[in-house]
């Protein structure tokens, strides 16, 4: 019963009920219209026939007088399927004809009867059996009244028949609609039930579940497909979130533990003033590192949330690149590295100067940090416009990153084992990636291609979309 109520509430049911109603109304209108039209036509035919007969009778009367007329009417009245004939005296009493009774006073008025009337024939077995007819009353100059009429039994039958047919047709339509709706609605309902079952399981926490697909490629499948794609994205984000929180737990708790340990150690030892001082300085250093990590994390999430997207305007990429090279050049020199620039002038993009500067700074800083030990102590910062986008690249000749690990290093807190000993938050590339996403660009990692045989080193490119796009 409950299920039936659910079925009634489906859109399919409502739509089919609406259509059924509309079609029934149309059909009813059509049938009534057609019957009315044909009835009018038949009545008109009847009138024409009666009029012709009246004209004939007038003719006969003029030619043969009353006796001839009476004879002619006798003859006509006896023919099978004859018309109605009544001859009455001036007072209205029926003298001859094939009609048994008429309503009194019916013959008083000359001309057409106002509407179809009822009468009884001699042949009728009971008095209740009456017929409907249309008639014309003719008054002769001697006071005789002659009624010529025609039975309307045929059109009446026709109308009843058509009405019956309409009823049957409506019944069939209703039944058909009911069956179709039941079949379609039940099918739709079943699939919806399967989908909601699956989503209930997903909500319960099993994100690996997917909505069922019938494989027919219909609207339900399309819906399931896009919902499944959404679920995939959610699962991926969820996975990322879990990984990040694991990483946060590790990368923030580790320095916090160190911090605590240092403070404890300082308290435990009967330290001198200078001993306290060193400990406190170390503690401040540790907290600075923590603050740095926090800031970077916060910054990434703000950038990802699009908080800085409002602060986008046309910025001179060439100038930012130049600034960064100039800023980091002395640091590189201190590490016995050469920072070279090949920057095309006057390249502008829509962006946030601070964030692009920070991102490029991170890349150059990374290159300086990891490039040592290469055969070629140069780091090249280049900015070139291209068809696929504007490439702002930092190429070093350091150890590089194996191709299979490249996707991973842009994740938050992911640091390759070789770099664990170097200072850093593990968030630098994640920030660059977030910044590039905000600028609708991308981050590309590749081997450094150089004339030397061993293409060692890493080239990281920030690819901005071309200005026209």
């Amino acid at each position: 019963m409950n299920r039936l109520r659910v079925l009634f509430r489906t859109t399919a049911f409502r739509l089919s009920a609406l259509y059924l109603l509309l079609f029934s109304l149309c059909a009813a209108f059509l049938v009534f219209y057609v019957t009315a039209m044909s009835e009018g036509l038949l009545q008109q035919q009847t009138r024409d026939a009666v009029t012709a007969e009246v004209a004939q009778i007038e003719n006969i009367y003029a030619r043969a007088g009353v006796n001839g007329l009476l004879r002619a009417l006798e003859r006509r009245a006896r023919q099978p399927g004859a018309n109605l004939y009544v001859i009455a005296g001036p007072t209205g009493e029926i003298l001859a004809g094939n009609v048994a009774s008429l309503q009194p006073g019916f013959l008083d008025r000359e001309g057409w009867t106002d509407e179809p009337f009822r009468y009884q024939r001699y042949t009728d077995e009971s008095r209740k059996d009456s017929h409907v007819a249309l008639a014309h009353v003719l008054v002769l100059d001697n006071g005789l009244r002659i009624l010529v009429g025609r039975d309307l039994q045929e059109p009446e039958k026709f109308r009843v028949l058509v009405r019956q047919a309409l009823m049957v047709a409506l019944g069939i339509m209703g039944l058909g609609a009911l069956i179709i709706w039941f079949a379609i609605g039940r099918n739709a309902l079943k699939r919806i039930d399967r989908m909601s079952d699956a989503s209930t399981r997903i909500m319960a926490g099993d994100l690996s579940q997917r909505l069922p697909m019938s494989g027919s490629g219909d609207e339900f499948d399309r819906l399931s497909e896009s919902l499944n794609a959404m679920l995939g994205r959610i699962e991926k984000l969820n996975e990322g979130l879990r990984q990040v929180s694991d990483n946060i737990a590790h990368d923030l708790k580790t320095p916090l533990t160190r911090l605590r340990n240092k403070a404890e150690a300082a308290l435990a030892h009967k330290a001198t003033n200078t001993g306290y001082r060193t400990s406190l300085e170390e503690i401040i250093g540790e907290s600075d590192q923590l603050i740095r990590t926090f800031n970077a994390l916060l910054m990434i999430s703000r950038v990802e949330a699009g908080a800085a997207a409002a602060e986008m305007n046309l910025v001179d990429l060439s100038q930012i690149a130049g600034d960064c090279v100039e800023l980091y050049e002395p640091v590189a020199e201190e590490q016995a590295l050469r920072l070279e620039a090949a920057i095309d002038p006057g390249i502008c993009v829509s962006g946030n100067r601070e964030l692009i500067g920070q991102a490029l700074g991170n890349l150059i800083d990374n290159a300086i940090k990891y490039a040592e030990g290469g055969d070629d102590p140069s780091i090249k910062v280049s900015l070139v416009p291209g068809d696929d986008g504007i490439m702002l690249s930092v190429a070093d000749h350091g150890p590089g990153i194996p191709a299979d690990k490249r996707a991973g290093v842009v994740e938050r807190f992911v640091r390759l084992d070789e770099s664990r000993t170097k200072p850093g938050t593990g968030l630098g590339l994640a920030l660059v990636e977030a910044v590039m996403e905000m600028h609708r660009g991308s981050l590309e990692l590749a081997d450094t291609v150089s004339e030397a045989q061993n293409n060692r080193g890493l080239t990281i490119s920030m690819v901005f979309p071309p200005p026209s796009a």
Binding site: S287, R302, E311, K369
Partner: protein
Amino acid sequence: MVTRMKILIIEDDIEAAAYLAKAFRETGIVSDHASDGESGLFMASENNYDVLVIDRMLPRRDGLSVITELRHKGIHTPVLILSALGQVDDRVTGLRAGGDDYLPKPYAFNELLARVEVLGRRKGTPEQDMVYRVGDLELDRLSHTVRRQGREVPLQPREFRLLEYLMKNAGQVVTRTMLLENVWDYHFDPQTNVIDVHVSRLRSKIEKDFDQPLLRTVRGAGYMIKDEDRPSP
């Protein structure tokens, strides 16, 4: 020091405010404290402070609205905004509201002190000087030349701006982030000691052939250019 600087700290964290007041007192700066936006606005309007240090998130009236209201009243006391929010977009909104400087929490006290001192002095001295002088070092802002003892010291454009900023704030501590902000106009964390390297390059140029050191490194804080023979102005 002729007059003591007097500042107002609008900060709802009582403990942090007390720490700041004590630390400022030790450096000779007098501070008042307001613990919510409304009373802060009232105190800033009624008294004449050199610098206002305003936390962004305050009870009863938030920091930005305090600044807007003050500026609306025609009070142009320099304002330093303290904020725990992310600095990408927050800095811009803060400065747009009428703040003069911005410092994200948590901060080092030395950083705050240096910035407050620079802001407080900005109120008094006009920036119209065309030539800055510290001891025998002379920087001509019009002709972009630097001379020491009459001898020209050739500098790169960025080195010139670095020296210009240091000399403009002669006798005061200038932090690394202040240098990055004012000389390079970037507000991010450069992660490495980039500024130190630039400063040491500049130092080698202006001090290499001379006996008297001018550019001092202030431990745990930043740099200061000062004529060691004379007391600070």
